[in-house]
């Protein structure tokens, strides 16, 4: 039995020795090993074998390191010479890549910021929001009631902590400083569950006193300047004095929970009129689950809790992890995640377009490098050496571009922040992750864009290259290697056309939503919040306002007509069968709601002051509600609503024409309008549209308001602003799309400019001869532009169905949408064709006008 030679040693040997026939070498080693084994034993043989292998290492290492450094220095030198030699192309290459990369970096920063929402909490993975799913009406609520949190903590061992949060906007006063601030009532456990670190004060004892307040640094600065705020007093809503018990760092912008001050939950519960009621959904409940417990596990058990306490309602308590709320909303759909995908895709598109530019220009111009490569091969370069050289070159270029791109990013960041409504900052020197990402991005770009030219050039046979039979131009039909470049150009244009179409569709949808006939007039309406004594003195306040000739009409409403979200069941109407049930949105108003908002009554009448029963019994429904209830002649029919605080019986007095009371994403829903001035939160004022003195009118309203509530700051808004803010995400999408499209087109045109200049240069002699023989300038221009026009047309054909599919999908989330017309496609096609034609035509004309004597005199 022969001893086994260590396999690993043999393997190493094969790795280390490259140029020798492995078979006989390994055989020889085995033989010597065997004889050593006979003479010196196991140990002796092994020492010999490993000794031999070790001896091989240093020389090989020395060799490879020396040569790689030497060759790299050479590559660098040649690369820089080439850059210098053709400054124009180098500029196009580097600028195109830099612009593409900076766009990509900006978008990736945005994506990173979005993905980082709520991640700063130490317990981020274990925190969940409790929300309510109403199976019957397919509704989701993020609000729960006061008793939910204690019950969860008590009944479920998986829930180790819980916190209730009730947002509030309050007037905070200290001496002459009075501002309205966003705040929240929270449980003491809030401070330990979430990571909002204290600057001053003790988190454990902060809320021991029910009249303590915790403020952020910003608020502290505002009210106390450089004083120490601890122990000082702030008066809230002109009622109670609270003592400052702590100062928090400002809440990070990428937090879902936003506040400027915190008050103890205890106070909220004291002020509530029915704190034990499970059905009063009014605050957010967060729970902290045990490590390794998934929300899904707990959710199953939660079902019993809802059934036990709210048996009459068909609802379920559910959990959504905090870290997912921003991206996925409550139910896993909607949310921002769609936009993250879209923007990431756009970033990739732009980068790909820039990379293709680079590939195209490099391969096109590689004709000029053929002799160099040939010589390198003759002197002994392998395919892999050439590949490495060109990859090095492209990585070098992409690193250069990256540096330029970073400069651009710094330059553009403020503009980008105002565009996206974020405050992204780039701290290049302390953010290791970012630096790694940037290096990764440039390596990726370099390798991606250098790969094709590198392999392309490395694959030629040196003899052909040096003899000069290697021709790299389109007129040489025999070796038409340009097909790949054509594919790349088509890809570029397809992506650009895709972006153009998307931009056109998004902006036309935005325009459509902005100008859509809503069923009411949202212009010239000023609104205020109904606060403090305004509610009690509403009628006299309204009368005062109407004295001004520029105020046409005033109404009170529970929700702004741009977004009436409140939805209920419990409606009853004449002729309803037992199993019929209808969820309707409802809005509570005063007499003048319909007239103030210029709505149109289809049947019946609006509420009237002359008919006293209207205030307690009148109902106005919209057309959709009538259709849903299948009422033949609705006016005068009995109608009632069973609210939580009692049954309201009445009759239908009128039917209003359907108006869009929600975002146009949603379809038309049934709506009930009835009067309940006590529950109104907003005052809407219709101003005269040709009002000569708008500032004066606003000042008038301010004075009248301060006569009623002198302590409250005067804050007014216009209804069309509220309307626009509903489509902020779409507007952002539209803007980013248009900038991305602009950049993409810019980069593509840059690339095309370089490519066509090169091709015209290649065909200088051909053009010269053609002209001598009698071709007109038009003939020449046509010759040079024909190919690009064909490519762009092809790109159109590819991009259209993709764009159509993608935009149909996007539009499907809107109940009211613009159809995608053929003109959008024609527009995109025309734009792309014109741009391509202008870019190429510029070069072609220049080439065509050249004097043939100049181009032919060297023959």
């Amino acid at each position: 039995m022969n001893p086994q030679t260590p396999r690993i040693a043999i393997w190493l040997l094969k790795q280390l020795v490259v140029n020798i026939d492995h078979n006989s070498l390994v055989g020889d080693f085995e033989e010597i090993y065997q004889s050593r084994f006979q003479n010196h034993g196991h140990v002796g043989a092994n020492i010999w074998l490993w000794g031999q292998i070790l001896k091989l290492v240093p020389s090989l290492l020395r060799n490879s390191i020396y040569w790689s450094i030497f060759m790299f220095a050479n590559y660098l030198k040649i690369a820089l010479r080439n850059l210098n030699k053709s400054k124009g192309y180098s500029f196009i290459n580097i600028a195109g890549l830099a612009v593409g990369m900076s766009a990509c970096i900006l978008i990736l920063l945005w994506v990173h910021d979005e993905l980082g929402y709520d991640r700063f909490h130490k317990n981020a993975d274990n925190l969940s929001l409790v929300f309510i799913e109403d199976d019957q009406y397919d509704l989701l609520w993020d609000n729960t009631s006061i008793p939910v949190a204690p019950a969860l903590e008590q009944d479920f061992p998986e829930v180790i902590n819980s916190a209730r949060i009730s947002s509030v906007v309050s007037l905070i006063v200290r001496k002459d400083k009075r501002f309205r601030e966003r705040g929240a009532f929270v449980d003491p456990s809030f401070l330990s569950m979430f990571t909002f670190p204290f600057v001053k004060g003790e988190p454990e004892t902060a809320f021991d006193d029910p009249f303590s307040i915790v403020i952020t640094e910003e608020v502290s600065q505002k009210y106390f300047g450089h004083e120490n705020p601890l122990g000082k007093v702030l008066r809230i809503d002109n009622e109670d004095d609270y003592r400052v018990a702590g100062v928090l760092h400002n809440v990070p912008r990428n937090s879902t929970i936003q506040f400027d001050f915190l008050l103890p939950m205890q106070r909220f519960i004291q002020q509530d009129r029915d704190p034990g009621n499970w059905g009063r959904f009014q605050l957010n409940t967060y729970v902290q689950l045990l490590e390794n417990t998934t929300p899904a596990d707990v959710e199953q058990k939660l079902a019993s809790l809802a059934d036990q306490h709210l048996p009459q309602e068909n609802i379920a308590l559910r959990l959504q992890p905090l870290a997912r709320i921003h991206l996925f909303g409550l139910a896993g759909e909607g949310g921002r995640v769609k936009y993250i995908y879209i923007f990431s895709l756009v970033a990739i598109f732009i980068l790909v377009i820039a990379c293709i530019n680079f590939m195209n220009l490099t391969t096109a111009r590689s004709g000029n490098r053929v002799k160099e490569v040939g010589l390198r091969k003759v002197v002994g370069a392998n395919k892999s050496d050439i590949t490495r050289q060109f990859l090095c070159e492209s990585v070098l270029l992409s690193l250069l571009s990256c540096v330029l791109a970073i400069a651009l990013v710094f330059l553009l960041l403020p503009a980008f922040n105002s565009l996206s409504g974020k405050q992204i900052s780039v701290d290049l020197f302390t953010n290791g992750q970012l630096i790694l990402a940037l290096i990764g991005l440039s390596l990726l770009t370099g390798i991606l864009s250098g790969s094709y030219p590198a392999f392309f050039l490395a694959s030629f046979r040196p003899v052909k290259m040096l003899r000069g039979t290697f021709l790299f131009s389109p007129q040489n039909k025999g070796v038409d290697k340009t097909w790949f470049r054509k594919i790349l150009v088509v890809t570029q244009f397809s992506l650009s056309i895709l972006l153009i179409i998307c931009t056109a569709v998004v902006s036309s949808q935005l325009e459509f939503m902005r100008t859509k006939e809503l069923g009411y007039n949202k212009e010239e309406i000023l609104w205020l919040r109904m606060r403090g004594n305004l509610k009690q003195q509403y009628n006299s306040f309204k009368a005062e306002l109407l004295q001004n000739p520029n105020v046409l009409s005033v109404t009170a409403t529970s929700e702004l007509p741009t977004n009436i979200a409140k939805s209920n069941s419990g409606f009853d109407w004449e002729g309803r069968t037992a199993e019929e049930d209808l969820a309707m949105n409802r809005v509570l108003v005063d007499h003048d709601f319909v007239t103030t908002l210029n709505m149109e009554m289809v049947q019946g009448r609006s509420f009237s002051k002359k008919i006293t029963t209207d205030a307690s019994e009148g109902y106005i429904l919209n057309e959709t509600a009538i259709t849903a209830m299948a009422l033949e002649s609705p006016v005068g029919k009995r109608f009632s609503f069973n609210a939580r605080d009692g049954l309201r019986e009445g009759t239908i007095v009128g039917v209003v024409r359907d108006f869009h009371f929600q975002s146009l994403r949603n379809g038309m829903k049934p709506l009930t309008i009835y009067m309940a001035p006590d529950e109104c939160n907003y005052i809407c004022v219709r101003l005269r549209s040709d009002s000569p003195d708008l500032p004066g009118t606003i000042k008038f309203i301010e004075d009248k308001m301060h006569a009623v509530v002198p302590d409250l700051p005067f804050e007014y808004h216009f209804l069309d602003e509220a309307f626009d803010s509903m489509y902020r995400a779409e507007q952002q999408l539209g803007k980013i799309f248009s900038y991305a499209t602009f950049l993409a087109i810019l980069i593509v045109c840059l690339g095309l400019l370089g490519l066509s200049a090169f091709m015209a240069e290649q065909r200088t002699k051909e053009i010269g001869i053609r002209k001598v023989v009698g071709a007109s300038i038009l003939n020449i221009v046509r010759l040079l532009t024909k190919e690009f026009v064909i490519l762009v047309s092809l790109a159109n054909i590819i991009a259209w169905p993709i764009a159509y599919y993608a935009m149909t999908d996007w539009l499907s989330s809107f109940a009211y949408r613009q159809r995608i017309g053929i003109e959008t496609f024609v527009l995109a096609a025309t734009l792309a064709l014109v741009l391509a034609f202008v870019t190429v035509g510029f070069q072609a004309t220049r080439a065509a006008f050249a004097n043939p004597v100049d181009s032919l005199k060297y023959e």
């Binding site: 140029n19 020798i20 390994v26 055989g27 020889d28 085995e30 033989e31 031999q52």
Partner: protein
């Protein structure tokens, strides 16, 4: 011109008369020079000499003791012989005047 190592290896191959291969050349070298030689060096030199046409190689039969691998035998070619002859002449001429080195004064 041959280097000293090439000289020695060419001679070793000639000495084994068509039966030279990695192992015996290597062992012979160790015996003659009385010093440790890296095996790798032998292979690279054999390879180089073959490429220069001074040696000719052919495959032998696989044997069990070699883990089933074939031997690669080396033979000296005519060119090789001529070079070796030249080398000897040069060698002799260099050493001609110094038949006895004597002792260092």
């Amino acid at each position: 011109m041959l280097t000293k190592l090439e000289d020695q290896i060419l001679l070793a191959v000639w000495k084994f008369r068509g039966k030279a291969y990695g192992v015996n050349v290597y062992e012979h070298l160790e015996n003659v020079t009385e010093s440790k030689v890296a095996v790798g060096v032998v292979y690279f030199t054999l390879d180089r000499l073959t490429k220069r046409g001074l040696l000719h190689s052919y495959k032998g039969e696989p044997t069990a003791v070699r883990g089933g691998m074939r031997k690669k035998y080396y033979e000296i070619t005519k060119d090789g012989m001529a070079t070796l002859e030249d080398s000897k002449k040069i060698h002799d001429r260099i050493w001609e005047d110094y038949p006895n080195l004597g002792t260092i004064r």
